[in-house]
């Protein structure tokens, strides 16, 4: 029973990571850009949700605002800064987006203060449901799992079936070619960037609802999303999904089970200490294993 609950937690965590990683991997794949500020957009989404939900009393409006605000911030940042970086080397991209993190984080701290904000769920989403087998599980976490799955399906459809998707795939294959095809690259890039930003903002709002909304919440998630992409392979939505679920499961189950497993061979106190320290390293060990076997990631085509 505990295992089933932890597996669901892992699934929910993985879906949230997927929302974050999907946008990042698209931006990598299509524009060849590393964006450290993706975590800042996640934070913008969370704060927008908290502010709008706080002002209007409607969680749903807040959720909508998170998508809209993060997508708008993403589009703005792309127009003002990011598009000057496509032709630059990765170092310049790292620095400029690091600078954006400083601006966003400190700016948010200035606007909202350093104290965490908390969101309340509407009654329709709170409480627990009884799953087959008698497990009581929070409804909202199930909603996140469902939402993540829906976004994944939506992205597969978007990339595989629509005109925008064809252009995105063409852009991943050959950046010069889509220019030759007469596609307005500048607009395509802004759209892809805003799409990724919106998904990150949505993830931020959802996680902010479970935990809390505060400055700096984005960067730990950003680094996990990097791990997801390294495992899944750059530019692959499928890789992002598989990688996110692997990371979510490994982390959750490791933290839940490892101390208990170690307690069988050593005393409880040190098993707890060693177990939790080791569990926090598990996903990175997973990443190291993937690097040894397949440096280009599970679904990646090229390394670099």
């Amino acid at each position: 029973m505990l295992l089933a609950e932890q597996a669901l937690n892992g699934l929910q965590y993985g879906m949230m990571l997927f929302l974050m990683a999907a946008g990042l991997t698209l931006v990598f794949g299509v524009m060849g850009l590393i964006n450290l500020a993706h975590g800042a957009l996640y934070m913008v989404g969370a704060f927008a949700c908290a502010a709008v939900a706080g002002a209007t009393g409607s969680f749903w409006l807040g959720l909508g605002a998170s998508l809209a605000a993060a997508a708008a911030a993403g589009a703005l940042v792309e127009l003002a800064v990011i598009r000057r970086l496509y032709a630059r080397d990765h170092l310049d991209q790292v620095l400029a987006t690091f600078a954006l993190i400083l601006v966003f984080s400190e700016g948010t701290r200035w606007l909202f203060g350093a104290f965490p904000l908390y969101l309340t769920l509407p009654p329709a989403l709170s409480g627990a449901v009884t799953l087959p087998g008698g497990l009581q599980y929070p409804l909202f976490r199930l909603v996140i799992i469902g939402l993540g799955g829906a976004v994944a399906l939506g992205l597969f459809w978007l990339i595989g079936r629509t005109r925008l998707g064809i252009r995105i795939r063409a852009g991943e294959a050959d950046r010069e070619m889509i220019g030759a095809l007469g596609v307005d690259i500048a607009r395509l890039y802004t759209i892809v960037f805003a799409l990724g930003a919106g998904l990150a903002g949505l993830a931020g709002a959802l996680v902010g609802t479970i935990q809390s909304v505060q400055v700096g919440m984005g960067e730990p998630v950003l680094i996990l999303a990097f791990v997801v992409i390294v495992i899944g392979g750059i530019g692959s939505i499928k890789g992002a999904l598989v990688g996110a679920l692997m990371v979510g499961m490994t982390d959750t189950l490791g933290k839940a089970l490892l101390p208990g497993l170690l307690a069988r061979v050593t005393d409880a106190a040190s098993a707890n200490a060693v177990g939790s320290a080791l569990a926090s390293m598990l996903i990175y060990i997973l990443m190291a294993a993937v690097l040894i076997v397949r440096p280009q990631g599970l679904f990646g085509v090229r390394a670099g």
Binding site: I34, H90, L95, A96, F98, A99, G304
Partner: protein, 326 residues
Amino acid sequence: MTRETLVNLVILAALIGTALVAQALGEGFVVTLATKAAIFALAGVGLNLALGFGGMVSLGHAAFFGIGGYVCAILASHAASGQPVAVLPFTIAGTNEMPAIWPVAMAVSGLAAGLIGALSLRTTGVYFIMVTLAFAQMIYYFAVSWPRYGGDDGLSFYVRNSFPGLNTFDPIQYFAICATLLVLALGVCALILRARFGLALEGARQNPARAQALGIRPYGLRLTAFVLSGMIVGLAGALYADLNRFVSPAMLSWHMSGEIMVFVILGGVGRLCGPVAGAAIYILLEHLLGGVSDYWQVLLGLLLLGIVLFAPGGLVGLIAPRRRHV
């Protein structure tokens, strides 16, 4: 003497001169600021070896900075308590002697750099950036969740470690130690970079395919540079721990990695003394802008954006311009 060498010497002299003048005027706080700048500069010099000369954009050097710091703090705290650090396989006692602490700090961070580098260098480009960042985060979380040495709260030690013949509590004497190590590290880097190793490293950075066709394997060169870089940054971490007599996981955080990179960039990538100028400017900005607003990092962020977009050679590049390599 080239214009750049001259600029390098002026920058170093300015840092040392500032500390001496501050000492003469009785401004102990400024001496401590200069010490902090020297330590950050040392970390920047270390990163520059990998980043500027080896072309490895590592966002994980906080790992080595923090490891160096933790080695220092752990040895010092054991020296204070009298408990050995380890008894198996052989007894390792704590120590509060800097000349004993530094080699250990460098060895342990070098070892970590060897492991992280060996794995990370299997990738290039954005993968490399993400992987180094992720491994540093792994060590960060390990430090947070490992309660033995303070976990999240960090680890304090109450007495600064000692150096034979010097009073390390005197700010100017501790500055002298840090500045000497900085100059030494600069000298070692200058030597290495002019030797065959440096030539091959730079050649492999600018044109890896050509290097291979000349019988040179870039992987080994880069890994060696990465380890040397990690060792220098580890030494800086040990000095920083002694400056504050405190270490915490913050030294290992991604933010620290970003800051070390900022020291390098503010000064100019691939310039020997760039990080010295960069660290000094960073400390100065922190002090000046920090006085204007608590949110000075917004201004730092905007300044950094401006440099990346409009002055890619860094601030030293503005004074001693040089054509960028293709």
